[in-house]
Amino acid sequence: METLPLNKPSYLLLVVLCVAGFSGGLCAQEISGLVQGNLTKTDSTSSYQNQGTGILREDNSGVAIAQAFVKLNLELTDELQFESVANYYQDGEKHLGFTQAQLVYKPIVNSKYKLRARAGFFYPRMSLENVEEGWLSPYTYTQSAINSWIGEELRIAGLEVSINSPGRARRSPWSWELIGATYKANDPIGTLISWRGFAMHDRQSLHNDKIRFAQYPTVVDENLIFHPSYVEPFHELDGNFGYYIGAHVRYLNQTSFRYYFYDNLADPLEVNEQRLYAWRTKFHSFAFQHKFNNSTRLISQWMTGSSVMGNSFVFVNFDAWYLMLSHQQNEHRYSVRFDRFIVEEDDAIPEDINSSDGYGLTFAWRYDMSANWQLGFEQHVNKNTAQNRVTLDESINVNQHQSKVVIQFRW
């Protein structure tokens, strides 16, 4: 029987809170949402979602709903609120579900040092790219390789506590925040980048999602790895708690730096009845943003880490970084980003090939026609190499391109 990635009591609690918020009227609530439709022209390399080896979300040119979500914010008390983002995706294995659902505790205290805590199902705040509602990017539609991966395989089902010190309240230009968290249910993280490699897209995984990838013979072979050609990233397999720590430093509102170290402390020998493994995945993430003025900013992120499953059946080191320049002129925003991503294997089963790498270049123009409507265009190209394509009798090198015209409505 398939297990619920989030355990049942947590799931029921979320539903109860939602219903209470809508029907009770006991607490203030805000509901916002977004629908994004696009016309895509893409190359014909079959997408990982269709069990191909392409690293883009789509492999069919045409019209589709790219994003649709409703965000609910319930104020349970002055200091405690519940936030959820419920998404609909036209593509993928699951179409409806939560990408975030959390209780946020932000006491108002007469101190220069402020405590915050949140519990539930949420993203660590590693990214300076995904800063719009629903963890979307206001810059490009196709997100960086790093945050495409975070969106599909990383989520925290746990508790985060932070202490922050706003600089202005201390009459200092420097603000800082220290973060610590513990969690469960993120054991399979690492599966996708180890076999498919990094991808570039904007589809976040839902709480109960399943992400498919190509049927690499060495992966599905019962005499080798014996793993399904999919991953359900939010499972708890070994009972271990993982953790992450982080630090944010900001100079005025001009320059930001965020460091995180993530380690899920998974036992790589644990495997469930679906043959999904726990992957011990750990990495450092460094994110940086500098605003040259009110219009132009530079954003960058670098991630370096490793992932291991089984008795070193798969062991990979991975590195990825991007550099993005974004300029806003009145209602127009122009962004260009360069991505580099590398996965290198060093494991006990060399027949199962895991090395991959690639480059990506993305340009986007987004025009706010009104407070609700936005029109945009994006051109993306990438050149990627996956050594395991040879096991499928495919060329290991693939060049992909994608053009999008996007219309967005938000309220």
Binding site: A28, E30, N73, E75, D78, K106, I108, N110, K114, R125, N130, V131, E132, E133, G134, W135, P138, N164, P166, G167, R168, A169, R171, S172, P173, S175, L252, N253, Q254, K291, N293, N294, A371
Partner: protein
């Protein structure tokens, strides 16, 4: 109407005289937007500040900043807190002169807040930690902020006053920030600060985002 009657009262019963005040830093530079206010020495029964909605002073939220950064209101007056942003703010104060917290939802209007006691009120936002604003509540209707030359002019009824200067960056002792004067004809008063101003952090008011995640 009440203010109009008050002005008639002033015009018909009391002679007004000009007062010019100049504030310079210890380095000789003009101090911009310093609050200067004149408190009559003799007990004066000022009329209650107007509470007609159109005349209530406002502390707006614009681009995730308090606008203006410094607002001066007369003791007993009210302040409106509109929200011109498309995101929520949560304003609070722990200051002795007024403690309150106020949620400002997008598109909704909050009730004005009364300030019955004189003093400095420091405002913060529990959503956006860089937001900082001040309301200075003064027990006089004679108040203004200095211009870029560090100057401000008043016309006040003749009599004895305490002239006081305030700005969140000023560190001087209180004794250097007040002066007793007698207004009978043109008065020119200069305040020269003795201590360095605190660091200028107006950079926090630039380059803010209206992105709503990670608040």
């Amino acid at each position: 109407m009440r203010r109009f009657l008050f002005l008639i009262f002033i015009c018909s019963n009391v002679l007004a005289a000009p007062v010019s005040v100049n504030v310079t830093s210890n380095k000789g530079n003009p101090v911009f937007r310093a609050v200067v206010y004149l408190e009559p020495v003799e007990p004066t029964d000022f009329p209650v500040p107007d509470s007609v909605p159109d005349s209530i002073p406002t502390m707006d939220q614009v681009d995730s900043q308090f606008m203006p950064h410094i607002l001066v209101v007369q003791k007993g007056g009210q302040v409106e807190f509109p929200n011109s942003d498309s995101i929520k703010h949560h304003v609070y104060s722990f200051s002795q002169a007024k403690q309150f917290e106020l949620k400002l939802y997008r598109g909704a209007k909050a009730k004005p807040v009364a300030f019955p006691d004189a003093g400095e009120v420091e405002l913060g936002c529990n959503v956006h930690d860089w937001m900082l604003g001040f309301i200075l509540v003064v027990d006089t209707p004679y108040f203004a902020k200095t211009n870029m030359e560090g100057e401000v002019d008043f016309d006040v009824p003749e009599g004895k006053y305490k002239v006081k200067v305030w700005h969140p960056r000023i560190q001087d002792d209180e004794s250097n920030l007040k002066r007793n004067i007698k207004v009978a004809s043109q008065s020119n008063i200069s305040f020269s600060l003795q201590k360095d101003l605190l660091q200028d952090l107006s950079g926090f008011e630039e380059q803010t985002d209206n992105f709503s995640e990670y608040e």
